[in-house]
Subunit: 208 residues, 2 copies
DNA sequence: GTCTATACTGCGATAGAC
DNA sequence: GTCTATCGCAGTATAGAC
């Protein structure tokens, strides 16, 4: 029953948002009365916390295992993107909630979830930094680049439909191409490294 | 006063979410009583609708003017990204609301706002398609690529702080580099499309 | 155009029987 | 472990004076 309640909560939180999803509706979807939920969970907030915590921890632990398994930055990047997209399409609703309901968390649980998210950010940022150090990735602001990658891969959970036009694997391919190669086909003249360097603000201007 | 009320609503919708922001608090922030809001707006929903509609229309009209002004896909892309990021940092809270409160719209206004968003998507998708046709952009799925670009540029509104480490212009540079060139420094040998395909692990090896 | 007062509704949560 | 009944409160919105 605990599981039924949680699934119902996932569905309604994702569809209407935490505050707009009445406990009575969650109960009805789980096939019980609202009061019965309190036998399994202390309150509404705890449903949200459990959904977020479970999936953020899974996301982190899988990324950690990828970083242990691979050394080459390209493989690490590819596998990290694949992992992110696979989880965000498999647990579409759950990650959509993580992405949109942080504001609905009370103070202490929010701090915990944000810490998990920061951990994830940092692992990816480390991956990029290492790849730049080793001359495999272009020099760029690791923080902003990390945010950008996470943002684009995360949003997959808002438009992906399984059984739709594209398979998960195709989406992963498209994203990896986009992230690793960018859009321009022939970077031509103005795009050798020195010239790029001249085009960019000096890195000192980007420093903290 | 209309303007004060709207500003208060923007601030509280962005901070707590539409459903979690009581009209009484919006009124207090605007320096009046809750009931007085109803002299200016018919209900709470209309505040949300006005915020979203105003800014989505602005975003669209500026993109249209860029597409009229420039012909080269590279310039169009760069200016479109710059426009997107500039608006999303200038009207940070407003676009954050557009991004997170679509669910809170009632049916008819939601259809209108989604139509505006689709219009924007389509203009960008057309830009990419044209660039690919003309051999300037890499061939890729225009829909997914458009979503990816919009997602990364939109999220700027959730972390950007004016007066922070990076200026708007620097953020635009970083994003344009990322989108146009990607992360890999030396795609080595793998610059052409066929070679890229050969360099990557065979898609079968990536199966779910 | 803003106020005070209040109607009305629906929410999360609790009590206590079974 | 689930139910019925209900409490207490907070929410949007309205009425009507000034």
């Amino acid at each position: 029953m605990r599981e039924n309640i949680l699934e119902a909560a996932v569905q309604l939180f994702a569809e209407y948002g935490y505050h707009a999803a009445p406990l009575r509706d969650i109960a009805r979807l789980a096939g019980i009365q609202a009061a019965s939920i309190y036998h399994h969970y202390p309150n509404k907030q705890s449903l949200l916390v459990e959904i977020m915590e479970t999936h953020m921890k899974r996301l982190n632990s899988q990324l950690e295992s990828i970083l242990r398994k691979y050394d080459d930055p390209r493989e690490r990047l590819r596998e990290s993107i694949a992992n992110h997209i696979r989880l965000h399409t498999t647990y579409k609703a759950e990650f959509f909630i993580i992405d949109t309901e942080l504001r609905s968390l009370e103070e202490e649980p929010r701090a915990r979830i944000i810490a998990l998210r920061d951990e994830y950010d940092n692992l990816l940022q480390g991956l990029l930094y290492d790849g730049m150090e080793r001359g495999i990735f272009r020099q760029s602001d690791t923080k902003v680049t990390t945010y950008a990658i996470i943002a684009m891969c995360t949003q997959v959970s808002s438009w992906f439909r399984s059984g739709g036009r594209l398979s998960v694997q195709q989406v992963i391919e498209i994203y990896y191409q986009m992230i690793s190669q960018g859009l321009l086909l022939h970077p031509e003249g103005a795009h050798t490294q020195e010239e790029v360097a001249r085009t960019l603000p000096p890195s000192s201007a980007l420093g903290d």
